[in-house]
């Protein structure tokens, strides 16, 4: 319990968490607002659409726009989680940490749990931003923002859960790659370039498409139940997707697996 309190303070006593939270909110709000406005305008002006480009139906619009909080914003909780661990290595803070509590596994799982909570908090911020900006934009063009639909709120709940798991994945990743710069580069490169390309290419073939649904981003989209790829990939065969609970389990599996590997490697190493 004390260790959890200490790990909580470690996050709140530096500026990183709210800097990332602000960037997350601005980013997904701009995206949800902008695309919400674009799709809203298009749905009321079908003639203005680019020829031959199928656009999402009005029903699918709102979940897609709201889901940006996770489908686009998930990189922020990953970064927060990874930085929470790599910062300990970089600033050589494992020394006082392990002096205060020599039970290293307990410290790591406390961090895992605390970052899970901060990931959920990021999720709340993210969905407030997309519901506000995206819902506002849709409503502005006369599209129903479906705030009264329970499905909307289930999507929000699953999205917040996904954000929480992503932060825990960041913790695992940070222990596997304790070098802070390397960890940041890997997070950005994988989430922004490598995985999108993999998912796109894998969708071209039935067998690889089966494998690709287990990629963390695909599992996350399955959990949330909204994917930008499902829309932007139109024209392509629709990518196969896990059930939402399967996606959640796969995603949580990544978090636990990375953390176990990191514990067995860097976390148990001599602190010199």
């Amino acid at each position: 319990m004390r260790t959890i309190g200490a790990e909580f303070l470690k996050v709140t006593t530096t500026r990183m968490w709210w800097v990332l939270a602000i960037v997350l909110v601005l980013y997904v709000a701009a995206l949800a607002g902008g695309l919400g406005a674009f799709f809203g305008w298009y749905s009321t002006n079908p003639d203005g659409a680019p020829a031959g480009q199928p656009m999402p139906s009005t029903d699918a619009l709102a979940p897609l726009v709201y889901g940006f909080a996770t489908t686009v914003g998930y990189v922020f909780p990953v970064l927060l989680g990874a930085l929470a661990v790599t910062g300990e290595f970089r600033h050589r803070l494992l020394t006082p940490t392990f002096l205060a509590n020599p039970h290293r596994a307990g410290v790591l799982w406390a961090k895992f749990g605390v970052l899970f909570v901060f990931g959920a908090l990021f999720g709340v911020f993210g969905y407030v931003a997309t519901l506000g900006a995206g819902g506002g934009a849709l409503a502005g063009f006369g599209v129903d923002p479906v705030f009264d639909d329970v499905d909307t709120w289930l999507l929000v709940a699953r999205g917040i859960l996904a954000m929480a798991i992503w932060a825990a994945i960041g913790v695992g990743l940070g222990t596997v790659v304790p070098n802070q710069v390397a960890a940041i580069v890997i997070v950005i490169a994988f989430t922004q370039f490598l995985e999108p390309i993999l998912r796109f290419v894998a969708a071209l073939n039935d067998i690889t498409a089966q494998i690709a649904q287990y990629l963390p981003g695909a599992a996350s989209d399955a959990l949330v139940g909204a994917s930008f790829y499902a829309v932007s990939g139109s024209g392509m065969p629709t990518p196969v997707s896990l059930e939402w609970w399967q996606g959640g389990l796969v995603l949580a599996g990544y978090a636990v697996l990375f953390t176990l590997i990191g514990y067995a490697t860097s976390w148990r190493r001599d602190v010199t």
Partner: protein, 344 residues
Amino acid sequence: MPKGLPIEVRGLTKRFGDVTAVEQLSFTVQPGRVTGFLGPNGAGKTTTLRVLLGLVRPTAGTATIGGVPYAKLERPLEAVGASLDATFHPGRTARDHLKVYATAAGIAKPRIGEVLELTGIQSVADRRVGGYSLGMRQRLALAFTLLGDPGVLILDEPINGLDPEGIRWIRGFLQLLARDGRTVLVSSHLLSEVQQSVDDVVIISKGRLVRTGTLSSLELDSAPQSIVDSPDRDAAAAALTAAGLRFAPGRNGFIVDERDPAKVGAALAAAGVGVSLLHRLRSGLEDSFLQLVGESDGSANGGTPAPASEATVAHDGPAAETSAEAPPAVASEPPAESTEGKDA
């Protein structure tokens, strides 16, 4: 009153790959005394302390505090206070830094204000550590060690980077802690740095123990000579010769091959020669430390302590005389040392 516990290191060996940092090291540190843990950079001091604190796994041997390994201590920060390297998160304030670890160790919040005051950094406690000077960081590191009001203090190079006022302060502080019955272990690569504050010494070199005992036993070994002067030097020389003492003339008197100044004084008194100066030569302490630890920069004196007498005579003069009476002033610390890194 916090309980001082003995520190015991038994047959400790630590290898990093094929580099042996510490080999078959054994020593004991007693409560109620300040013990200097000395050796040149790279001798294995920090490795030994990290093993003792459960941060590094030993290849062989044990290191215990009150008979228990650090990781098995019930409430570690309240038993042992340790500062290894003055590193902090630059974006966190000193107060928050202490709050994090006090929370982890279950130490009550009011104690944070107390240790900030004890170490004299309460006025900067709410500033981020990134802007701290090395001296302020050292004080914060010490504040961390005092959080649990522990009976055992383990400090790695605590004097590094402190200004003269800070050095004077910490010397007195260490003595005060030991007088309370606490165990105080202080590492340094310079004997002169801790010479005035330590009671015992544990000297290691290249990972092996070379000497352990009281500081005065080291002084006796290192100073087999006395210095004597008289208004009548010829009569004094005759008296020394008559007493069968070997001596050589120095700038401020005769350097006599006799470790007990009382015998020298008795020889002159027996001959009715006046004495204007009489004391044990103390300049040999640092020399003998450097000799013990091997091929350090000051090892020009030769392999065994015996030839040191010639060497001392040869460069007898201001250096020998000043350090003979007064221990080196705090301000005379070579400034270059303060920025040196620590051994691995």
